[in-house]
Amino acid sequence: MNHGGAKAQSIDGEWLVLVGNPNVGKSVIFGALTGRYATVSNYPGTTVEVSRGTARIGGKKQGIIDSPGVNSLVPMSEDEKVTRDILLNENVGSVLQVMDSKNLRRSLLITLQLVEMGLPITLALNMYDEAGERGISVDIESLSKTLGLNVVPTIATQRWNLDKLSDAFHHRSKPNSVIKYPEFIEDGIRRIEALLPSARISARSIAIMLLSGDPTLSGWVEKNIPGKAADIEDIRSGVQTRFKEPVGYIINRVRLKTVDAIVSDVVSQEKLGKSKLSTVIGSLSMHPVWGVPILLAVLFLMYEFVGVLGAGVSVDFFETTIFEGFVNPWAERVVGYVFPSGLIHDLIVGQYGIVTMAFTYAIAIILPIVGFFFIFFSFLEDSGYLPRLAVMVDRIFKLMGLNGKAVLPMVLGLGCDTMATMTTRILETKKERIIVTLLLALGVPCSAQLGVILGMLGAVSLSATLWWAGVVIGVMFIVGLLASKVLPGEASDFILEIPPMRMPQISNIVLKTLVRVEWYLKEAVPLFILGTLFLFTLDKTHALKYLEAAGSPIIVNFLNLPVESTQAFIVGFLRRDYGAAGLFALQKNGLLTPVQTVVSLVTMTLFVPCIANLLMMIKERGLKAALLMTLFIFPFAVLVGGVLNFIFKILSITL
């Protein structure tokens, strides 16, 4: 959701690239250096798209790129490929590798690959405090000497030592320590090297990647050395016949051996006694027994904080006190003074007026809810709970052809489905990305919609809430189950890093919430105005009556809802939360019975994805897939609503 500034540019054309393992603090350092906010959370895969910014160093502008986290520069997923491609294709001046001080072994594995590339590197030993707390100390001088690199210990979240990183901008000396691989591999490297054109990074490093059998490089080969792919494959398979295990794996093991030698020289571990409270909470939250009550407690807190405090108390305050008591009468007076009546008067303050409807919905109803949700969600993100949730639900997700990792984009969808659709990049197979995109578009309500829904259900009863949640989750599960059977392809391995639990930093939560709220306002308010104008036009041309009449067989007979709810569904095409806000207003005016509330909410929850989400689906999955999904979702949502209504009627449930 941070839109990488295309304007950011480096003056001398060379970029400083931040590289590192997932969840080591690249985005924090990026933010500190450039003053631009890149989303920071406590789980791997927060950054899925590249952020660019500029820092002013000694009066000179320097372009900086924040890259998605990687465990290897031989990519395993789309976000890892993004990082490799930056190093391969961009004009990289130097690299700042951000390392997790307590996990030097994994960080150094990347360092060695960067060294092979022949890029100038500076190392930031980040989270230096966490290493200390765990009794780990790093001999920085010795590390610096061994690698021939500049090493700076940092604590990014406290901005400690970040000023010393400015050296990284000027650092241009290249390290020259290289690993020797077994002779058969070295021979293969030399032979492939001979085929390669000169590139930004060393031919040796590209040769090693090709020898590892990196399939994501085939595009590069096609473009830079057309027709040589077969030769390279010949060399590669020639080398492979010498070994029992895959060549890539052997290369990796040689690197790890080198890493282990360095680690045993520079890292010393002191035994510590008691485990910290955060460690205990972290373990309990993914415990097979205790994890469940903790999950329920989290959900309950969310309901209380977002549903009751956000959607109830603060919406009441904004809507009744501020808007109905102050803004709307004031706007009516001002507008009435200039335009006593007529089209423009109605356009601004009429029944479908921009102030009385669009602004009231956007600012008074949705904004407080979104704000409260994002505060809560940011807290969850930064605490490190979400990956533990993935552990809890892994088995259930397996049934849908997914694995626990897929819970990350799904939960993110509760914030914003558009953002979450983009985050599906952390999933490894195409099949998984399609299923999660479909489920997001189908059934995961975004924060704005969820808040309104919780507010409405809270006003009815707990059983209404359970019916709604049960039906939506059940439907998603069944669709996921069927999709996993129908779609070709395979699920990927569940390998997920669990970060330590951390006490979230208030400053990051505030900043993140503000950035997201601002983004929400920019994206939603124009659509709200557009939707209101649309309704206004329909109303003035009396087309609304015809549409209501046309929709009434479905709305009134099939779903058994009041005819006025048609307009909520019409704007629901633009944004589901806008539609939900329309239902909210209906309920407040006493036009919806409890059963009608649940039926309309289930239908609206499953309703078509909003325009922004649709555009993101087209961008990530392609036009055809996005349209097919939407064509499936629309009638399906109405069908589920109708069936639910029928069930309620048959069982004479009144809630």
Binding site: N71, S72, V74, M76, D100, K102, N103, R105, R106, L109, R134, I136, S212, G213, E245, P246, G248, Y249, N252, R253, L256, D260, S283, M286, H287, P288, G291, P387, A390, V391, M392, V393, D394, R395, N403, G404, D493, F494, I495, L496, E497, I498, P499, P500
Partner: protein, 219 residues
């Protein structure tokens, strides 16, 4: 004591018939594999060599026969385990090879395989594997054993001995996380998903992958 392949086979089948609750000569000879190797005459000869005792339709192992049968069963079932878990052969070739293994393995090699596999109590079909000397040794005498990571208890640490995977991308991915032979891993929890610790990294992994990782337990 005569020890030939056919006799060993028959002894094994008497053993496994007994596991199923039968000691009938008629039923024994009705088994296809037994019929290939032996007839009534063979059984009488074995009785003469004091390997089995026959009384009407019942057949039981003598003390000597019992020993031979136990050792043969042990070799056969250990071979099955080795071929299934470490070499990942398909069912048909496992049976074929296990049958030829059992007649050639020496006592020492059998015990080494048993140790390598972590003294498994049962064969892949769930039948008990008779214990050998190596299993009875206790405490300090027990050599370091290799077992599946999934067999460790929560809180145990193991040093990775080898990773058996046919999926290259999986090996690469594990490698980039530092999971290679020689690394030490600690089992943090087994349910609802497997979570291990390697250094300061905590990882959740599929049970399938965990089964492919063989470790030596570190005490």
């Amino acid at each position: 004591m005569i020890k030939d392949k056919g006799v060993e086979e028959v002894l094994e089948f008497i053993w496994s018939q007994r596991e199923q609750g039968s000691n009938s000569v008629r039923e024994l000879l009705a088994i296809e594999e037994v019929a290939e190797e032996a007839d009534m005459e063979t059984l009488r000869r074995m009785a003469g060599n004091n390997l089995i005792k026959m009384d009407g339709d019942t057949v039981v192992l003598s003390l000597d026969g019992e020993k031979l049968a136990e050792a043969a069963i042990r070799r056969h079932r250990l071979a099955e385990r080795l071929l299934t878990e470490v070499l990942s052969l398909d069912a048909e070739s496992i049976e074929k090879n296990a049958c030829s293994f059992e007649h050639t393995l020496s006592h020492e090699v059998t015990d080494s395989i048993c140790t390598l596999l972590g003294h498994p109590p049962t064969c892949p079909h769930g039948l008990p594997i008779p214990k050998g000397d190596c299993c009875r040794k206790t405490g300090g005498e027990l050599k370091p054993i290799v077992q599946q990571l999934s067999a460790l208890d929560v809180g145990d640490t193991g040093r990775i001995a080898f990773i058996v995977s046919n999926i290259h991308s999986r090996l690469d991915k594990l490698g980039s996380l530092g999971i290679v032979p020689g690394s030490s891993v600690r089992v943090h929890q087994k349910r609802p998903a497997f979570v291990i610790q390697i250094g300061e990294t905590t990882l959740a992994l599929d049970p399938e992958i965990i089964k492919e990782i063989y470790v030596k337990k570190v005490f």
